[in-house]
Symmetry: C2
Subunit: 487 residues, 2 copies
């Protein structure tokens, strides 16, 4: 088993940071990362290192790490590798008893033979100093508890319970940004760069034991220690889901990955089989990553039976198709539920699951429908399509209906959403919502986000993500039944 790395505590929760390569020029990474840390609200001490400056961004500068008159937990190295020898900086850090480092500088293993030798030198200096480091060629880290935005771009992630290790910096930080829009909050993030020292599995191992992390996300181009990854993943997925996206699957992708992080990527089939064995949930595309992370905010379903409530027949058909393809069952509506629904639904409702309310515009009735569905015991989850944005209110405003009616509609929408949240919480079963108007961040969607009910922008995505809850649930069952014998 991969050993825990105590230095990671200093990486994610440092009391003090030295920023080597801090710059006075506004459009230099050394300046942007520093600004990011300060503006991001980090509460610890920050020491910019620059031999030619007195002060940068109102902070006193030091010519090198050794001259800092206090303890330093973490060094962030943003100096260009062409200008300075990074391994020399590490030696300075060693003298200062620095615990961990982030090497943002690039120009190492990803660039060829010469870079590889520089990378080896870097690793050997760090080993001697007992310093563990992220990168090189990293875009930094984020830590919610430390309020630390040690990142190249000025992303402000939503705080939450997803921890994420990404072998691509850009893809990583932009996923954080997208999370803000989709309601996915992060606890820890690390752009692991070339992984010369710390590997993907070291971070996952840390996330596994971190009480603030509930869901683990990983973007992988290649694994330097496949067996180590398997061990850590197997141990982790007993308790927490790991969602992994594997890039560089094709020849063209693998060749791009080699010049990106210098990693040798394996065949897609090998990864598929490894992920399956150790219970890792595979994201098939970049959008799946956050779609699946959202899903795991909900409880796991007991089985494969789902009820669908839709405002429009077409969406019901599409969702039923998607369920069928994903092996999700749509059970018949039991007699007692049917009879109650039949009383509140219009004459020509679907009389079947998906429950199609056939463009019914009485919002009171929709609240009643949810109350009835709540009594349906023999389903394992619910997918609700439509009616979550300002369907009623903005709609009526547009056609010039009286304000008091519009206001009533808004209140009813809120009541409807609250009923949804109550079902989710009472039931202990997963409830998913779908809005098809892509960019709508209505009050309803916000409320659902706040209550951890995932909102998707297409029914197919909701169903795919739902099926991942089932997948992991079934892995857990299989695992518990056969104990350790599944391998």
């Amino acid at each position: 088993m991969v050993k825990a790395v105590p230095q990671l505590e200093y990486l994610f929760n440092p009391s003090s940071i030295a920023l080597v390569g801090a710059s006075r020029q506004p459009i230099k990474w050394g300046s942007i990362v520093l600004g990011n840390i300060i503006k991001g609200g980090y509460k610890g001490k920050v020491y910019p290192i620059n031999p030619k400056a007195e002060k940068i961004q109102d902070l006193k500068c030091y010519p090198n790490v050794k001259k800092i008159p206090a303890e330093v937990d973490l060094s962030i190295i943003a100096a260009p590798a062409v200008d300075v020898r990074i391994s020399e900086i590490i030696e300075d850090c060693a003298e200062k008893n620095v615990k961990a480092a982030i090497v943002i500088s690039s120009g190492f293993g990803e660039t060829g033979e010469k870079g590889k030798r520089a990378e080896e030198e870097l690793v050997s200096s760090a080993r001697k100093a007992n310093i563990r480091f992220v990168g090189p060629n990293s875009m930094g880290i984020f830590s919610a508890s430390a309020n630390l935005h040690a990142l190249m771009p000025t992303v402000r992630p939503l705080k939450g319970d997803v921890s994420f290790v990404s072998q691509s910096g850009n893809l990583g930080v932009q996923t954080l940004d997208r999370g803000v829009q989709l309601g996915v909050g992060f606890n820890l993030f690390v752009s692991s760069g070339n992984e010369a020292d710390l590997h993907c599995e070291d971070y996952i191992n840390y996330f596994r034991q971190d009480p603030e992390t509930k869901i683990i996300l990983s973007y992988i181009e290649g694994l330097k220690d496949g067996v180590g990854f398997m061990d850590v993943a197997r141990e982790t997925t007993k308790k927490k889901p790991i969602i992994a996206f594997k890039a560089g699957e094709t020849e063209a992708g693998a060749s791009a990955a080699l010049s990106h992080t210098g990693s040798l990527t394996g065949s897609s089939r090998i990864y598929d089989s490894v992920f399956k064995q150790v219970g890792v949930i595979k994201a098939e595309n970049t959008e799946d990553m956050l779609d699946f992370a959202l899903a795991f905010k909900q409880p796991l379903p007991k089985g494969r039976k789902v009820a669908i409530l839709t405002r429009g027949g077409g969406w019901g058909v599409v969702t039923a198709d998607a369920c069928d393809k994903a092996g999700i069952e749509l059970p018949k509506i039991p007699k007692e539920i049917f009879e109650e629904l039949d009383k509140v639904l219009p004459l020509y409702w679907s009389k079947n699951n998906p429950i199609d309310s056939v463009a019914l515009i009485n919002p009171y009735a929709h609240i009643d429908i949810l109350k009835i569905i709540k009594k349906w015991k023999d389903v394992d989850g619910l997918i609700i399509l439509g009616g979550l944005d300002e369907f009623y209110s903005s709609f009526l405003t547009k056609i010039g209906v009286d304000d008091s009616i519009v206001k009533l509609q808004e209140e009813l929408l809120e009541e409807y959403i609250k009923e949804m949240i109550e079902i989710a919480e009472d039931w202990g079963k997963p409830v998913f919502a779908v809005v098809v108007t892509l960019l709508d961040k209505s009050r309803g969607v916000q409320l659902l986000n706040e209550h951890n009910i995932p909102v998707y922008y297409s029914p197919e995505r909701a169903v795919k993500a739902f099926s991942k809850l089932i997948e992991w649930k079934e892995y857990l069952k299989k695992f518990q039944n056969s104990s350790d014998k599944i391998f």
Copy 2:
């Protein structure tokens, strides 16, 4: 071959409309559709029909269609089928020499035997009167040239060159709404409902001859006249692309479709083969529909060779993977282009296609890169990843950089985007853009939208859509080579 329907001219460009079932109550469809038409800016005459009202929404009411003291081209029937006999209304319309009708009322074929008989009666009345009608169970139509929003929901579609027939009303109108957000404009839209009279292929046949329609979109649950559809599609795809989504593919979906529009759906394999034969582009999920429609705003590529420009290595890897899977080639960079790129790119750029500018933050250089790529003759298209939102400006604002620098960055972004547009227009080759921050509608994205450069929210989607341009181009070639003999 399916015959052209002259009445469709009156449907999409009526001089006057009777709205049967107009209501004074604000939350009735008869009232909402009327409000929608008026507020939507329709320039023709509108006559509300309601025997119990004098005026509705400031318009004089008539007790029935016959009493209207002027010509009526189109009748919209929103009266509930339980309250009135719709076929009687049609008989009134016949006396008035009405040309076309939209039957919004539901409760027909989709509800069982009794409804089927009512539907047959409706068809027979209309046949006698030489009236062609949409529906029943339709959510209405939209016509850009007539400025006609005869729709149940208050959607305000973007005007453009896509025409869309949808067998689901809800899915249809919400796709229009999504189009506003994605920059897909519509010329004509019809929610075809149960298709008791006018079929999907009748509308497509009209779109084929409509000079304002460049791209045709269709949501299909089932085809009542498969051969007719094939004939029309085959004729249409010689000139215009048809993008079709087929729902109700699985048993669960087919059962939901039956209670939705009463259509018997065929097996997925049959549709796949039909679509392929007649050159119809298959949308595999609901998001594909607009993704593909966006793609066809660009010229068709001559071949399968694509250049990729990325700000981040990870996105490059993902895009290369997606291209490989879609059969899109990433040719090597020719020597003369390579040498020029090498001068403006940072030391450690990817030196390969995808061209990874390795987080380069000099915006001048990005403009230069585009100018160099413009000289690359031996590629058939370009996909640009990142750098289209306020990467520079909002970024620098956040870290507190001086306003004048921020303003400069904004100007440079605009210059960069304009270079992109110029390449697209000079080259005559398709250029696609990808922004990965889902909800960002930056000035850059708007500019690209205005210039018909499709912007996607994930590289996988961009590549999938790009591959559809290739697919249709190859169909056209095959078709042209073998003339009519391909079947």
